[in-house]
Structure formats: C-alpha cells, structure tokens
C-alpha cells in the first residue's frame, strides 16, 4: 500500500501539486474512510432533519397531540410511529421486502416459478434503474466542478438528449447494432450542443455559466413543450413522442415488469471512462489544473477558453446520455416533465461525491435508492415525494459546510483542504 502511494506521487507532474498534505503514511482504507465520513454523516443528518419535518407536518400527529391529556401514550408514540411508517415504507420501496424475497427463492427452487422471485427483487432492481441516469448526470456536473464550472444546465441537457435519442429511436428503421449506438450518440450530441452554448458564451464573453445554463434549461423546457405538442407528437391527444423502435431499446435483463437494463452497466463503464480521462490523461490533467488554479494553468500554457468549452461539451454530452439512457432503457418514449428533478439532484450528487467518479457512483446509488423508495413512501405513508428534495437540500448544505457537521458530532478538523468549487461572476 505505502509503496503504491509513493509511486503515484513521484509520477505526478511537478508543475502543479494538488493541495493535499503528505498522504504516504496513512493506508488507503483510512483515507477512504476519512473522506467518506463527512458525506455519510451529512446524509444521516439530512435524513434526521427530514424525519423532523415529516413529524411536525404529520396530520395524524397534530390530532394526536390535541388529545394529549386523554391519551398521552399515543401522543408520545406518534412521532416515532410516523417516522417508522415513513422510513419503513422508504426501505420497502428501495430494497424490497426480505420476507417476500425468501418466499420467492423458496418458490423458485420448489416449482421453477419465478414470478414471486421477480416481484421480490423488483424494488431493488428498480432502485438501480433509477440510479442509472443519476450516475450519468452526476458525472456531468462533477466533470464541470473539476474545471471550476457550475453546470446547472444538466436538466435541460438531459431533456434535449432524451428528445434527440427518442427521435433517432422512432424515426429510423435499422438493425439494432447500428440503431442503438446511433440513438445513444444522438442523445450525447444533443446534450453536448446544449452545453456548448453556455460554455462558449462563458469562454468568449465571461458570462457566468450559472445564469446561462439555467436560462438554457427554461429554453429547453419551452422547446420541448413545442416539440411534444407539434413536430414530435405521436398521433393522439397526449403530448408524447411515438414509442421508439424495438431495435433501439437498451436490452432488459429480466422479463416485464422489471425495467432493469444494461444502461446501468453502461453507466458504470462510463464512470470508469471518466475516471480514466480525468486522472490518467493529459487532457484530464489540464482540466483539473484549470479548475484548481486558472492563473497557474494559463502560465503553464493551457488554454482556459478551450478547456471551458471542452468541459461544457463533455458535461452536456454526459447529461444528454443520462436522458438517452432513460428513454432507450426505461420509458421508450418522452413526455412532458421528463427531466423533472434530475438537474438539481445531480448537483447534490456531484457535491456528495466530491466530484470524484467513484464518489458520484456511490452517491447516485444512494439517491437512486432514496427516489426508488420515495414513490412507495408517497403511496403507502402518504408523504409527498418532495421531501426527498428537502433532504437533498440539507445534505448539500451539510456537505458544503463540514464545519457544521463537525460541530454537531464533535469531530476533529480535517487535514486536507476543501476543494474550491466556483469563483464569483464573470471572472
């Protein structure tokens, strides 16, 4: 372990040292643990705060407390009951019921009938399916952060990518080995163009990408509104695209109604690709250099303009792939509100994962499980799905303000410097 750490330090270019202290002494597991501690505590604290909000807005609770003196036990127990119901149904929605799983396995080995088994693993696979676009979108935002760019436009890029790949999906007849890659490429390209515009504007005029990407989001929503009620509308009344051809489907691994498809493994492969790109190539090094210290990077001869545009294009492409994977693998058509929530969620992901592809994958899995369970939570415990956004907001704050977490849990101060994420307006 130690010699490995020393070896990577020696091969680093001497021009730019990453702002971290001597790490050769501590084992890689301890480093990972330390890096994982704050995000893990942030998520936990976020869930706790979410629980508090669930409790104080629970109508049954309010009526139980009205009768506090007549029935104190119910009143005292009701907060815990409320939270138990809420997070219990969240767990059931995310992972599935262990009892059903055991029964399913037993039934399969007894009779060869797989329906019960499939039903048991449905929540788990559904969570993984939900996590897939999050992995792509989180990678998109994380790549932007690495270059000091704040890509809030992931949602717009997601939608445009979805529309592009849906178009290729339903408009052409081709064998699957051409159709599927072409559809994915179309999605990536659509997102790339959508990201290139704010990137180019930032590089040339200095306009801050936060406002521009948000504007592009709203333009994308309006554009998609028009496309879905006009040129791209399927026959009928609903503002949706036609269903894409079978040859453009991302293959599913289990029979209906399970929606788990190879898009998940594609996402993991892309994550590895992004990791390799960022940490093992010269271009990736340039990007990280521009993100860490643009003045030093310029002095070293790197083109800030070129890197900004490149990163926004790649980031947009990844977000477009997220939309493409969702269309080709899960829904097979695009409707209004298709991209709802992915944009801001992916920001939370990138922050939680500290802009590292591995961290993003883990965070995306977490969000996938949270969202997968949230629909169950809404139907079983009656808690609106928006509580997930509330929890995410808390989690981002806790991750971005580690001092807060440290104060609550009385942790020692970290040794490594926190990464600089953004720099004011138009600089």
């Amino acid at each position: 372990m130690k010699s490995k750490a020393v070896k990577t330090e020696a091969t680093q270019k001497p021009v730019l040292q990453e702002a971290q202290p001597e790490q050769g002494k501590r084992s890689i597991w301890k480093q990972a643990g330390q890096g994982l501690l704050i995000p893990a505590l942030a998520v936990f604290t976020g869930l706790v705060f979410g629980a508090i909000i669930i409790v104080i807005t629970d109508p049954h609770l309010l009526s139980a407390y009205k009768n506090f003196f007549s029935d104190p036990l119910t009143a005292l127990a009701s907060p815990f009951v409320a939270v138990f119901n809420a997070y219990g149904s969240l767990f059931l929605g995310s992972f599935g019921n262990p009892v059903t799983l055991v029964e399913g396995i037993r039934a399969y080995f007894a009779t060869g009938e797989s329906t019960l088994l499939l039903k048991a693993i449905y929540p788990f696979t559904e969570s993984l399916t939900t996590a897939t676009p999050y992995i792509f979108a989180g990678l998109a935002v994380a790549l932007g952060f690495r270059c000091g760019l704040f890509n809030i436009g992931a949602e717009g890029q997601f939608f445009i990518g979805a529309l592009c790949s849906a178009f290729v999906g339903y408009a052409f007849q081709m064998p699957w080995y051409i159709h599927l890659p072409l559809a994915l490429l179309a999605g990536a390209l659509g997102g790339a163009i959508w990201g290139a515009i704010p990137g180019y504007l930032k590089a040339v005029t200095g306009a801050h990408e936060v406002v521009n990407t948000i504007m592009m989001n709203w333009i994308a929503f309006r554009l998609s509104d028009w496309l879905l009620t006009g040129p791209m509308k399927a026959s009928g009344y609903r503002p949706v695209t036609p269903v894409i051809q079978d040859s453009a489907f991302l293959p599913r691994l289990f029979p209906d109604p399970l929606r788990f498809n190879i898009g998940f493994f594609l996402a993991l492969a892309v994550a590895v690709l992004v990791w390799w790109f960022l940490f093992k190539t010269t271009l990736g090094f340039e990007i990280r250099a521009v993100g860490t210290n643009p003045d030093a990077a310029r002095y070293a001869g790197m083109s800030i303009v070129r890197n900004f545009v490149l990163v926004m294009v790649l980031s947009g492409a990844l977000a477009g792939l997220a939309g493409a994977s969702q269309v080709l693998g899960v829904d097979h058509w695009v409707g209004q509100g298709f991209s709802a929530g992915y944009g801001f969620d992916s920001i939370a992901l990138a922050l939680l994962g500290k802009s590292h592809p591995l961290g993003v994958v883990v965070a995306a899995l977490l969000f996938g499980f949270l969202r997968g369970g949230a629909t169950r939570m809404q139907s079983m415990a009656g808690i609106p799905i928006d509580i997930i956004s509330v929890i995410q907001g808390f989690v981002i704050i806790f991750v971005a303000a580690p001092a807060f977490i440290r104060a609550i849990y009385r942790l020692r101060a970290a040794r490594a410097e926190e990464t600089v994420l953004t720099r004011g307006w138009g600089k």
């Binding site: 009620t229 907001g393 720099r423």
Partner: protein
Amino acid sequence: MTTEITEQNSKNSFIRTRILPGLILIAIGLLILLLFGMDTQPGQQATFGMNVMRSQAIQIPDLTLPVQPAIYGLIVVTVFMGAWQVARGVRSTGVLIGVVAFCFVVAFLIWATREKSFNLVGMLSSSLVRATPIALAALCGVISERAAVVNIAIEGIMLITAETGVIAGTLSHNLYVGLLAALLSGALIAGIHAVLVIKYKVDQIVSGVAINIFGAGITSFISSRFLEKNVDMLNNSGTFPVIPIPLMAKIPILGPIFFENNLIVYLTILLVIGLHVLLFYTPWGLRTRAVGEHPRAADTLGIDVFMMRYVNVIIGGAIAGLGGAYFTLGSVGRFDEIMTAGKGFIGLAAMIFGKWNPFGAFTSSLIFGFADSLQVKMQILKVPIPSQILGMAPYLVTMIVLAGLVGRALPPAADGTPYEKQ
C-alpha cells in the same frame, strides 16, 4: 517589425470595434426588411389602443399607423445608425444598441398588428407589473452583492415567502399580516444563507443552490400535504387591490401604467429610489460598498465587515420576501408549485445588466417584463410563431444581454469571496 504588428493589431481592433458593429446594425435593418417589411401590403393599418378599460385616465384616441411607411421608416433609421457607426463611430454603445433594439421591436409590433388592433398601453402596464418580481429579485441581489455576498438563493427565498405569505394571509384574513410574514420569512432564510456563507465560509453559490433545492422541495411538500386539501383555510388570501393615485391616475398613457397599481408595485418603485439613495448618498451605503470592494481596507477603518454583510443580506432577504409576496398576495391569491418560474434568476441577470445599481436593475427588469408581457400578447394576436417559442423570449433576452454586457460590467471586487480576519 514590431510597429507593423501593432499597426496590424490596432487595425484589427479598429475593424472589430467600429466597423463590425456598424455592419451588424445594417444587417439588422435588412433583417427587419426581410422579416417584417416584405410581409406587408400597402394600405394596411395598425391600430394601437391607448386606453385601458376601467381606468381613471382621460381617454385619448387610438393611434393608427400606416404599416408600410412606418416599417420602412424604422429600417431607414436602423441602417442610418449602422452607417453612422461605420463612418464616424457612435460614442455610446448603449444608446446605439438601445435605438436599434427599439426599432426592431417596434417594427415587429407594427407587423404583428397589421389589420388588427392591439392595446399598447395595456401591454406597457402589464410590463411594469410583470417586471415587479424581477425588479425585487434584482434589488435583493444588488444590496447583497454590493456587500460582496453572492445570493443565488433568491428563487428559493421567493418560493418560500410566496407560500408563507399566502398561508399567513389566508389564516389571518389580513393581507398585511401575510405581507409581514413574507418579509420576515425572507429575512430568515437569507439570514441562514448569510450564516452559512459568512460564518461557516460555505461556497456562496453552493449555499444558494442548496437553498433553492430546499425551497422548491419544502414549498411543494407543504403544498401537497396541506394546501391542496384545505384551499379555503390556507390557500385563498385574495390579492392587494389596485389603488389609483388620485390626480396622477388621470394622465393619459402614463396614468394607467404607473399610477394605477397595487401596493407591492408602488413599494417596488419606492424601494428602487430608496435603495439608490441609501447606497450612494448615505454613510451606511458607503460602508456597504467599501465592504464589497475592499473589505480589508474597510476593516482597518473599524467597519465591522461581518455585521455589514449580515445586515445587507438580511435586508435583501426581506426585499426578496416582498418579491415572493407579489406572486401570491399581489397576483393570483394562491400558491402553485414552482410558481416563480425562474424569475429569481432573471432578476440576477437584470442586476448584472443594470451594473449592480438599483436604477439600472429596475430598467433592465422593465425590459425583461416587456419581453414577458410581449410573448403573452403575441399569443393573443395569433402571430404565426408557436406560443412556446414566444415563451422563450425572456430567457433568450437574458442570455443575449449577459453575453453582450458582462464583459463590461464589473461586479464589486470582493464579490464571492469570504472574508478572513487577520
């Protein structure tokens, strides 16, 4: 060799700064001809209504313009400005862009109104009304960023204050209580942003985005949980009535636009003036700007940098609270999910466009409000452009404005960086 290169450089920059913009303007003139001029017939007339219904203003006759002469006249003006720029150069680029943009928009309006009638004063009046939340968001941004705290959270704050205002207003059957609740909740959320950013030194944009996510989530959550089921008890506050100002409302054209609005619009106009005076004519404003430009120098003079920043951000939060209250108490009287529709961010663009000045921010908000109101009217006029494409107008305008002007607009020098005492 060197002089040749510098001459070449200066000639290139000469081409870029003088000739190119002029050529672009002439091209815009030709564009007006192609898009609007070609599509008209001689003898067509466009009628612009000059009166608003149910108004106290003295009624004046409608303005009827002959379409082709008017459009061609505007083309001539545009081409003339372009040619002047190429030949002599116009000193103020702002005036140049302004005049040409005005010609383009007016030509568009005349073309869209050919053979029909269109209530111009009504549209201008609704421009001011639609500009109000944008202006308030922009003012919140101005006061916060003048003290060097970037406040992206305006959208989230406006959502939260909109909901708080309408709930308080409905519960208490009193709009003023609702307004107060909105102001206080805005100050509170902004206070949280301030604490995170000043005390815990969280990245200002990250904190802003987190508050936006939280705001969208909690308002939709409460809306689903409580407001949908208890509309009359929680989500039906009524709106502030239109209060015409006694004598001024009678003035034609200006009366209906400026002097027949509700309380929040009047407060906005007063705030613009008040904030301008406060920032540029009082010692407190001077200290604020000092803290924003060079906090260390301000600190050595004994100004409490942290306290100034807290106060400014919290006041900004209250202003954003007023903006949020506009959506519910000043407009529809109920809360809908994500009803701000990006106005908080457009307000930030207005702030940058207005060069971090209250009056500049207000003027640019009027422009965005105009774009917003224009696309609605265009739908009514059945202009052959799909309504959703027209709906992009405010956002496109924002992007074009940002692209054209940010390079020349400098934020307060310490904007975005936390202050560390030494």
